[in-house]
Symmetry: D2
Subunit: 363 residues, 4 copies
Amino acid sequence: MIRVGILGATGTVGQRFLQLLERHPDFVVSAVAASDRSEEKPYVEACQWRLPGDFPESVRALRVRPCEPPLECDVVFSSLPSGVARDVEGRFAAAGYPVITNSSSFRMDADVPLVIPEVNPEHLALIDLQRQRTKGAGGGGYIVTNPNCSAVMVALALAPLHRRFGVTSVVVTTMQALSGAGYPGVPSLDATDNVIPYIAEEEEKIERETKKLLGGYADGAVQPAALSVSAQCHRVNVTDGHLGAFRVKLERRATLAELRDAWTTFRGLPQQLELPSAPVHPIVVRDEPDRPQPRLDRDAGNGMSVSVGRVAPDTVLDWRFVALSHNTIRGAAGAAILNAELLLAQGRLLRPPRAVERAPARG
Amino acid sequence: MIRVGILGATGTVGQRFLQLLERHPDFVVSAVAASDRSEEKPYVEACQWRLPGDFPESVRALRVRPCEPPLECDVVFSSLPSGVARDVEGRFAAAGYPVITNSSSFRMDADVPLVIPEVNPEHLALIDLQRQRTKGAGGGGYIVTNPNCSAVMVALALAPLHRRFGVTSVVVTTMQALSGAGYPGVPSLDATDNVIPYIAEEEEKIERETKKLLGGYADGAVQPAALSVSAQCHRVNVTDGHLGAFRVKLERRATLAELRDAWTTFRGLPQQLELPSAPVHPIVVRDEPDRPQPRLDRDAGNGMSVSVGRVAPDTVLDWRFVALSHNTIRGAAGAAILNAELLLAQGRLLRPPRAVERAPARG
Amino acid sequence: MIRVGILGATGTVGQRFLQLLERHPDFVVSAVAASDRSEEKPYVEACQWRLPGDFPESVRALRVRPCEPPLECDVVFSSLPSGVARDVEGRFAAAGYPVITNSSSFRMDADVPLVIPEVNPEHLALIDLQRQRTKGAGGGGYIVTNPNCSAVMVALALAPLHRRFGVTSVVVTTMQALSGAGYPGVPSLDATDNVIPYIAEEEEKIERETKKLLGGYADGAVQPAALSVSAQCHRVNVTDGHLGAFRVKLERRATLAELRDAWTTFRGLPQQLELPSAPVHPIVVRDEPDRPQPRLDRDAGNGMSVSVGRVAPDTVLDWRFVALSHNTIRGAAGAAILNAELLLAQGRLLRPPRAVERAPARG
Amino acid sequence: MIRVGILGATGTVGQRFLQLLERHPDFVVSAVAASDRSEEKPYVEACQWRLPGDFPESVRALRVRPCEPPLECDVVFSSLPSGVARDVEGRFAAAGYPVITNSSSFRMDADVPLVIPEVNPEHLALIDLQRQRTKGAGGGGYIVTNPNCSAVMVALALAPLHRRFGVTSVVVTTMQALSGAGYPGVPSLDATDNVIPYIAEEEEKIERETKKLLGGYADGAVQPAALSVSAQCHRVNVTDGHLGAFRVKLERRATLAELRDAWTTFRGLPQQLELPSAPVHPIVVRDEPDRPQPRLDRDAGNGMSVSVGRVAPDTVLDWRFVALSHNTIRGAAGAAILNAELLLAQGRLLRPPRAVERAPARG
């Protein structure tokens, strides 16, 4: 088993990591770290568990460590707040740890892969460049990022269309869940009987990450996809599940049947390799007139499938549809875990030698 | 005082009519009619009052009448369900009553005005054509409609831009309130912790009504505006207040300051005539990054102003913004009342002679 | 496998039955019946699936049957609305079917067991009396009921205290979930930003069912428990999970530690027999100051455990606490299934002979 | 006009003060103070306005002052958090200001009146004792408190019964609104689809404040009422309006008609003196089976009336009923303002001399 350390273990996404890893076939949580006054407490005391369901037994007694290397593990999963992530994650990578992070700090760095395994696994080749650079600095670890919780839905919904028909423009309007803001996050007086038409930096993240995710890899660099992305983001009174209303313009003509086919037949490396967290159907197309809905569809594919519905011709662009995905599973912890599963399958995550190599760094 | 009869008086919009007319300077409710088993009961018994605030005293004792002429009033306000509206309203018009209706049945008829007083008051000239036609049939009443609750927000938000810069395309994604579906309306299990990406016929209504509202009037006919409208509609967990996320393409270049100016200086006939329900500012522009919000802004201008915010350049069309309006006030009962106030100011609503004229119809 | 027929299969509780039976070790759904215009349609078309998660594959193609015998099954589970339940269920029992029902119609009948397997399994002896009566009428089937969704929580929370200390009075104030009203159920305009201090007949049901459940069985009759029950019921804006705030007066003095012990050590026949749906801990005691909470704790024990918290001395009665249980699992479908599992373990549910016996009834 | 200074002016209750005083006949806000980094900013910039409706024009430009004397005003209204209230309010009283406070710090002090003007106005006589004590200390100002937001509902609902029939025990279970926790207050992830069975110190406050409020005044001291109070408190997903489910035991027998009469005829000094904020009916009795409801009834009497409903005999105590009141109006800002109006009517608030007296303190 690969030993995993969780950075930001007491937060909302940190808790999802622990929940999803509770019975994982390849990963076991061996260390929890948090940046606050909870250090050295047993995790069960340091963490106010906010997820439905029971506290994960296997980590109750783990002592909370500070967020700095060394950490008793082979790989680090991070959900640190962006304020501290860049510095802390950088230090872990420099100390030789693979860092699989949900934080936004490194996503747009030229030699850092921003990856959805079904969409752009070839970007992982950036790891080699990254290691060359950091190895010189004494490290040899690396950083792999997954996208923003809405960008992952946008890129997954678009990828099958982009491959087959070419997407030239996308206009997406999101209705995002409360858990996306963490805990305590959105005050209830703002959420109840209300919609907030603003999420800090979210529109920008969707616009730029989508282009990197759908971009091509060549000569050691990612070339952003040549499409225009317009995002308007809203916080709605939903616990989990981000919904997006889309209009897209395509390069090539398509019929409704061809769109459906592009989505329903879409498979990627995770499905081929049968990775443990890979959903059988990355995209589920719903034909009912009123689906997908967050409460009913967010758990499709154990929270790893994107549900698409209401596909119809559009009067301004070419097509319209809505898409939904679980923002803390496919949009955060599950995304990072799937990245790690792919790295493991590709031999980019190793166990025994690293434990030894890392020893001197502890000195 | 003009005596008003309310058709559909026990429904959600019917109750808003009564609430808004409770202390109106020109209109007094003299008759309430409903299509159900509540006939002949006192209104206070027939109606389960669903609005915050007290039951309107002045109508407690009115007996509920059937929805057919004659009715003890000078003008009829209607919020009948579309299934019965066309037939019933048609009979009232034929019997000589001005019918000011919130129902959708007649909105797209060629000689029926679909009017927002600040936007296209000149369309009221259609009344003359209509009366010519129906007078021959023995009547002489007429029908005036107000738009769908979302279309009124779309058309009001666009009107100042359309006049000054020409709107060629609009992409609007709505997040609509529960009260828009009436009572009992949306089941709570569908509303709680959820978004429903579907409202029956709503997208079509917004797309076609917006063009008629922004259209020109010439030679006895309305020429629909030549703009493309794309609407995607969602029901969110909000009691009152429809929010729309907009992208627009303009014919002429504009700056952010010019857009703001177009909205904030926008005034119409209701403001000029100082009609009782006219808001001082038909459009309120909010500069905070997170406004407008339904709970905080729906009551702007006593529910008659549209609030606009988050104005910014768009990456696919030209501009983006969000707009909000109160769906049962500006979007329904208040819209009809403002139409009636304008008709009264224009001398198209008369009191004493009609009472006499109508007498024979009662026989 | 015992073949199960579901009466009221398209409703909220009917859907829970199907979901919970999807992978049951002893029961398989062989027939679905509904009282509406859905007859003869495949279930997947007749039913608008309202539960999170996927449609149960195994019943997709079953044709919906009318709610009358004969039905292709060995036992009938019912969640019919009370208006029709008495008549329909009576006819199934008369035709020789064991009827395990969640409906309220027969609950207070003298020879019908009202049972929570952990609390009063001995009441099942009433079945023999019942069969004697109905066998004379040609039948030989029987009816077993489970309690109202709140009464089950009240009786389960009280049972350990009643056994050990004697409960003389209980004052319970409930905050009940929306799903308890079925679908469409509570209108969203009543649920959002609101509490409704009324649920039809609920207070009466809790008051009388609790006494029967905690009552003793002797000489072929249930003697209601001699305690006073006061219930006030409220509908709150929660999807699933009924919460109750309790004060109790006890016959014998108890300490907080003794109360805790009574609850945490409480076990019943289902735990002894290791019935498939039996939770390991029928009562879970939470020590955090702010638990149990519906969203976090309703799924304890797969929705079959009652969570108790905030135990403290009371200033008017003796003790106060709050309790929570899942209203459509432990409070409805799960309750009926656990009853059936106990009946099966006790040899009161048989398979093969009945299939033959029933044949003539079809003629 | 009496000039009012608001302590804690940027908080939720502070904003209510400003909203309610916006057009008050006797009070005008002349100073706003806040304990944070907002000092010296114009109020419009320091305060993120969270109430529906427009920002109060009259205070936009006021500079935010520190929370310490002197302050440019004749009386101080306070809604400071309890952590700082005792110290700050004490210093204002010592400096000669009447302090009308919604904070809990001084409520249970022996010589500080805890007052609901309709219930126990005679307790204001404590002011004289207080001034004797503090005058010696150089001051001469005084402190008057209003109750906790739930205690005010409990005491108002009980007062008419206590006067006429004697209340010996009350068991109240509250379902309290989110605004009671201030802003940001309750995280939305705790509020949505949930109930929290805990509000810090709330049960204790209700239990002890109710006894002081219903207590008698004699010989310069308040004698707590001899009744037992049991409170269980819950936070529910409602913006405004605290609901309580009550059972009461009475000393003297009463009929339902007598209870109704006690409530509907209940009047106090504020009604006699026609104070500006006094509701015509302090208690409104609703006879519908499903009222009062927070969303529909919280604004009764402009938020100053308590609504009572569901009155019925109880099976454990004598009677049960539910009551509702607006927690930030009658339960906070409105309570303090009504106290101030009574003090003004009684000549305990004076304007001109104090302005002079205080001048030297400014040096």
